[in-house]
Structures are given as C-alpha cells and as structure tokens.
C-alpha cells in the first residue's frame, strides 16, 4: 500500500513538473529562443528524484534551503549543461522549481499512509494543473493579439514564433499599426459610432425598461403574468430568425446603414433581459416607502424618479453595463444592416478589414485590441456588477 502511494505520488508530481516546465519552454520559444526539444525524459527523471528525495529528507533541512538546493541542481543540470540557454530562462526554471518544491513539501511518508491519500494528492495537483492550464489557454490568444499588433509584416512572416518586442525602437514605429488604422482606415470614426450606438442603446433601454419593470414588479393589471413569462420566451428567440424580415423591412423603410436602425434593434433585443433583471430587483425594495410616497401624493413618475431609481442604483448599473457590453460586442445585426463604410461599427469594420486578403494581419490585431480593451477594462473594473448581470441575463448567447 505504501509503495503504491509512493509511486503514484512521484508520478503525479513529476507529470506536474513536466507540465509547468513545458509551458515555460513554450513561452521561452516564443521569445525567440531556439528550443526544439522538451527533454521530457530528463525532466521526468528529475521530477521523480526530487519528489523522492523531498520525502526522504522531510523536515531535516529548512524548506527554504531545501528548495534552493533542489532548484539549483536542476537548473545546473538541465539548463546550463544540456541546453546552454540565457540566464533569464534559467532564472525562470529556478523559480518554477522553487515553487514546485514548496508545493510538494507538505507531503511526507506519514501523509502517504493516510486513507485516500492518493486521491487527495490527485485532486491537489489537478487543481494546480487546472489553474495553470486554464490561465494559459485563455490568456494566450489575448497575449498573441496584443503582441502581433506591435509586430511588422516582415517580422511576422520571417519567424512566426518570435513574440519578442523590441522596446528599443521609438514609440512611433512601435505603435505603427495603431497609427495606420487610425489614419488610413478611419478607426476614429468607427470608435465614435460604436460608442454612440452602445451608450445610446443603454440610455434608451433604461428609459423603456425602468417603467415597464416597475409596473410588472408592483402594479396589478390584466396580462401581468403573461407579460412576465413571455419576457423570457421572447428573449430566447434567436437573432438569426429576425435577420431576414428585419433586413427586408429596414431596406424598404430606408433604415439600413443608419445608426437609428441599429439603436432600435439593439434596444428591442436587450429590453426583455433588462426588464427581467430590473423587476427582480424592484420587488426586493420594501413597499412601505412607496406607500408613504402615495400618501404624500406623489405621481408614479415621482415614485420612480425619487424612490425607485435612487434605491436601485446597483441593479441599474449592472443592467447598464451588461447592455453596453452586448451592444458593443454585437456583430450579426451590424453585418446585416451596415454596408456603407461611413456607418460601420468597430466590429463590422474589423470584419470588413479582414475581408481584404491584402490587409496585414497586424492591423487586424490592432483593431481587435482596440475593440477588446474597453470591454475587458469595464469588466475587470466593474466585475461585481457585471457578474450579477451575466448570471441574470444568462440566456443571452
């Protein structure tokens, strides 16, 4: 039993070590280092040896010294003798090993004898593996987007693996792609259009949604239950079904290629979820406040503006941010309704740019960075509000 646990522990930990070292090697390759082999066997043998030695030594030496000794041995053997790579790469390897030894330090022979110890070890390492794996898989495309926007066409073609940026060059050539898309491709205008459309959608949606949500939350009227259930059904209806009839109607009314047309469609498609989110919140506001207001002879307009809105600022902001994000990211309707470059939104403009095979990829990526940054910034900054919006508006695809 003990040997089986011991073998499993060493195996799992060395696979984990292989995984983190491989990620580091990939990142190093992308900085222009010439690494053509992962040397998996060597790392595996080291992993097994270190895990085993760590168990044997236990707490006889202080963790700090133990980690440094193991890491140095690994760095000297793997990095300096076999691969002969620059110092910064080896410092990275050193830190990884330091982290690794610290992680496996909490296991000892006594631990391994406990019930279910292999499963506990497996879950522990799976969590660590997951954190690294998902961070890498998710952040890598974003990282690539950003780096590519700073490269030149030739550099991209000569070595697609070279992700290093030359910070020695002056700012103008570093940000060249951004200057070009603003000067020759008119991106300033698209940013303005996208902003007007998104902010406009937020404002109109709120103006329409707040009274409706208040009525559904508070007032008794015929058709109320029907209305509140149909909100969700309507929201589930996909945009692709609306595209052809709306295209035909808008063509005949001359609303295509106009910001007004987009505003109307975006508002209508975000209204159901906005009402749904708001009415849920309005219901949680104590009724006594309104009853007092009715005694003071406040009209419904007064109740909404003086009581409901001030009390539900958090809910309103999360609706606003959520709607902003939907409108900013929207692509299908802007593809259908806009074919005049003068009225493009950012998403549509990027798609239009990519339609031309001649367009250098770094311009496309610079455009992508511009369209992504505001959303990610808003998301990180207002995460608390947005997460509640995402959960409530989860039906949005």
């Amino acid at each position: 039993m003990k040997t089986k646990n011991l073998i499993l522990f060493t195996l799992i930990s060395s696979f984990f070590l292989i995984f983190i070292v491989s990620i580091w090697k990939i990142l190093a390759t992308l900085q222009g280092l010439n690494i053509t082999n992962f040397n998996l066997q060597i790392i595996f043998i080291f992993g097994v040896l270190i895990s085993f030695a760590n168990l044997r030594i236990g707490n006889k030496i202080k963790v700090f010294y133990k980690s440094i000794i193991f890491s140095l041995i690994f760095v000297i053997c793997d990095g300096y003798i076999i691969q002969k790579l620059p110092l910064w790469y080896n410092i990275g390897i050193f830190l990884i090993l330091y982290f690794f030894v610290n992680k496996i330090n909490k296991y000892s022979f006594e631990n391994l004898r406990e019930q279910h110890s292999t499963q506990v070890i497996f879950f522990d390492f799976l969590t660590l593996f997951g954190i690294l794996f998902f961070s890498f898989v998710i952040l890598f495309p974003f990282y690539m987007m950003l780096i590519t926007s700073f490269k030149t066409q030739i550099a991209l073609l000569v070595n697609p693996l070279d992700f290093s940026i030359n910070f020695g060059q002056d700012l103008k050539s570093l940000f060249k792609s951004y200057f070009v898309i603003f000067e020759s491709y008119n991106f300033g205008r698209y940013i303005l259009t996208s902003t007007i459309v998104s902010v406009g959608t937020v404002i109109i949606t709120l103006i329409f949604a707040i009274p409706a949500a208040y009525a559904i939350a508070r007032l008794n009227f015929f058709g109320k239950t029907f209305m509140s259930t149909s909100i969700l059904i309507i929201y589930m209806f996909p945009a692709i079904v609306l595209v052809i009839p709306l295209y035909t109607i808008f063509s005949q009314l001359g609303l295509r290629n106009s910001i007004e047309g987009l505003l109307i469609v975006y508002t209508a498609t975000t209204l159901p979820v906005a009402i749904y989110m708001l009415q849920g919140y309005f219901k949680s506001i104590p009724k006594e406040l309104e009853e007092a207001a009715i005694l003071d002879k406040l009209s419904w307009f007064g109740i909404i503006t003086k009581i409901i809105i001030p009390l539900s600022i958090p809910a309103i902001s999360s609706v606003a941010l959520y709607v902003f994000m939907i409108a900013w990211n929207e692509f299908l309707f802007s593809l259908m309704f806009l074919d005049n470059p003068n009225s493009f939104t950012l998403s549509r403009a990027i798609q239009y740019l990519s339609g031309d095979a001649e367009t250098p990829r770094q311009y496309l990526m610079a455009g992508s960075v511009i369209v992504t940054l505001p959303v990610l910034f808003i998301f990180v900054y207002f995460e608390k509000y947005l997460v509640s919006g995402l959960t409530a508006g989860s039906v949005k695809g």
């Binding site: 997951g130 209305m227 595209v243 209508a268 992504t372 998301f379």
Partner: protein, 419 residues
Amino acid sequence: MKDTLANTEKKTAYILTLPAVALVFAIILFPIFANVWISFKEVKLKDIRIPEPRAKKIIKYISEDPSKIKILYKLRNSSLLQEIREVSFQDKFPKNFEIEKLDPRCEFKKYALNCKFGNWPAKYKENFQVIFETNDGSKVDKKVLKSTKPKLDGTSDNILLNTNFTLKNFKKVLFDNEFVDLLLTTFYYTFFGTVGSIIFGILTAQMVNQKFYGRTFMRSVLLFPYVAPVVALAYTWELLLDPNSGTLNSLLINYQVIETPINLLGQKYIEINVLGFDFKLRLALTTVIMFEIWRYFPLAFLFILARLQAIPKELYEAADVDGASPFQKFFNITLPQITAVISILFMIRFIWNFNKFEDVFLLTGGASGTRTLPINVYQQGFSISDIGMGSAVSMVIVVLLLIFMFFYFKLLGKRVDEN
C-alpha cells in the same frame, strides 16, 4: 372608491409598459410573423428594393449668352423589374427665371416646374430637357441651380405585399440532398459544444471553489473569453491556427510533433488511427466546436460556481467523519447538488448554440463542412440572394426551436414545482 383606485393602477401600468411592449412587438414579434409570410413567397434580394423614380440634373450654358441656360434631367426608373405609376416631378427655380418652351406634361407656376410623367415601365429612361432665361438679362448662377434637387414621386407594386404564395421554398429546403448533412452538422456543433462547455465549466468551478492565492483574479480571467467581442477572438484564433504563419503550427513543427502544417480550419476530414481503427474526424468542425467550448464554458463556470458555493458545508463535514474519499464526495454530494443547474444550463446552451451564427461565420464562413442551419440562412438569403429560401430555412430553425423550448419550459416548470 376601491374600484377606481384599481382602475387608475391598471391604467398607469398600461402606460408604463406600453413603450417597451410596442417596441418589442415591432422589432421581435412582428418580424417573426413577417418571416412566416416571406418564407411562402418567391422573393429575391433584388426584389425588395422599392423601385424609385430618379433624376440627374445637368446644367449647361447655351452658346455665349450667359442669361440663357439649358437644364438636362436624366430620368430613369431605378428598378429593372417593376413599373412605377403616376410619376410626379417638381423642381424649384430662382424668382427671375422664365421658361422658354413648356413641355405639354408640365406646368410652370410659382417659380416651380411641376410635371406629371405618367407610368414608367421597368428600365425606363428619358432625357428631359428645359431651357430657361432670366427675365432681367442677368447672369445665371450655376451653383444656385445645382443646390436645389428635383423631387420625384410615384407608386409601385410591392412584391412583398401581394398575395402570391408558393411552397417552392420549403420543398427546396427539405428535399435538398444536403439537408440531412446540414441537420447533422448543426446537431454535432450544438451537442458537443454544449457538453464540452459544461464539462469545462464543472472542472473550473470545482477548481475556483477551493482556496488559493489569486482566486479572484482567476475568476475574472476565466470570464474573459465570454465577455470579449467575438470578432476580435475569432480573428485571433484564425491567426493562431493559420497553416502558413500560425503560431500553433509553427510551434508543433518546431518541436517535431508534426512534419507538415495542418489546416485546422480549412480541412474537412482528417484520418485518425485509434487502437488500430481508422476513422475520419471532421477537422474543421472539431476546431469550430473547440472555439465554441472555449468561448462559452465561462457561463457554465459562473452558474455552477454559484451553485457550489451554496452547498452547505455540513454535508462535506459529515462525509469527512464517515471517511469518504474525494471522489466519493464529488460523485455523491457535489454532483447531485449541481444536476439541476446542469440540466438548465444544458437546455439554455443547447438552444443558443443551435442558433449561433457569428462564431462559425467568422472562423470558416461555413466552408469545409461547418455549414450549420444559421449559416445556411445567411448563405441562402445573402450569398445566393434568395430571401424566400433564407426565410424558409429560418422557419425550420423556429420549428425545431419551439420543440426544444417546449421541453425546456416543461423542465423549468418541474423545477419550480420542486422548490
């Protein structure tokens, strides 16, 4: 007294909800009915443009006399197919203008030229010419003349409003050789995308539900693919997977995993040998599904995490006392607690993935075996320019969707009953 109060309440409620209801009706419900209507008609993209009478104004001096001017109106019917009836024309002129010869169809009154041109057949063209001179002999200013534009008006039949219906579109859609393949592709895309994103959602939620350094940061990062604009993400992936200069292929070649680059988005099938069995994998479709999972697992993550955090700690403590292993705890406590969320998520994601258009459109445009139903709507309607066919395909989507929704709300109703 009470009755009137209830009445005012009702009235207020209707006033408050009316704008929202009207807008949703006009933009969402009405188009769905319009879609049914169009799907039974033979309408091409070029038919939906309303025929317009148009005039181009060209101004020329006659000989050396600066007080005389010739105006040429190039009149035409913008439609190549339809007639315009009772075309009327109006153009305004400065006060000192006098017309030299009046066309019998026109009259000149109050400094305005009004004409009735009658009916214009399709493709109609005419060069209509008028000569003016100033009554005080002063020089004619071209710019002033150019600044006013003629107004034309006319009535025409609208192909969308007549009552000629046909079943042709549906026959074409349903009896098309590729229809089964289309349904299968859509189903693979939807099903595997949904299942994959839920599995990844469970894994990540389980992961973030533990305490570790940088947990809040991790939670934000996990949501990045879901909140970032699809256009940016799709093109980044395209660049990443590009066979010629893509990072992924270059990396794999660099580490000698593969010898020649793989066109992950442009190759329909790839031969794979598993345990001695050769089988064909739909490569481009798999890649597109991967993108879909990558982009939408955050939603599953968010839902499942919220549910996990609501599971009472006592359950796990009791399991610890009984000496349950981590696997047992996961399968006997965690999983039963999250099945309800998972089933709801499955339905929601299934319905939405079924209608997903942007992702596939931006990555492959529906080529190399990735043509799903929504892509087909676009291709029929706008690439082949057959609006009627596009509508018919989207009707197929609506019908399938209604079936899914029926099950979804049945499930939802059951769940509400349970609580």
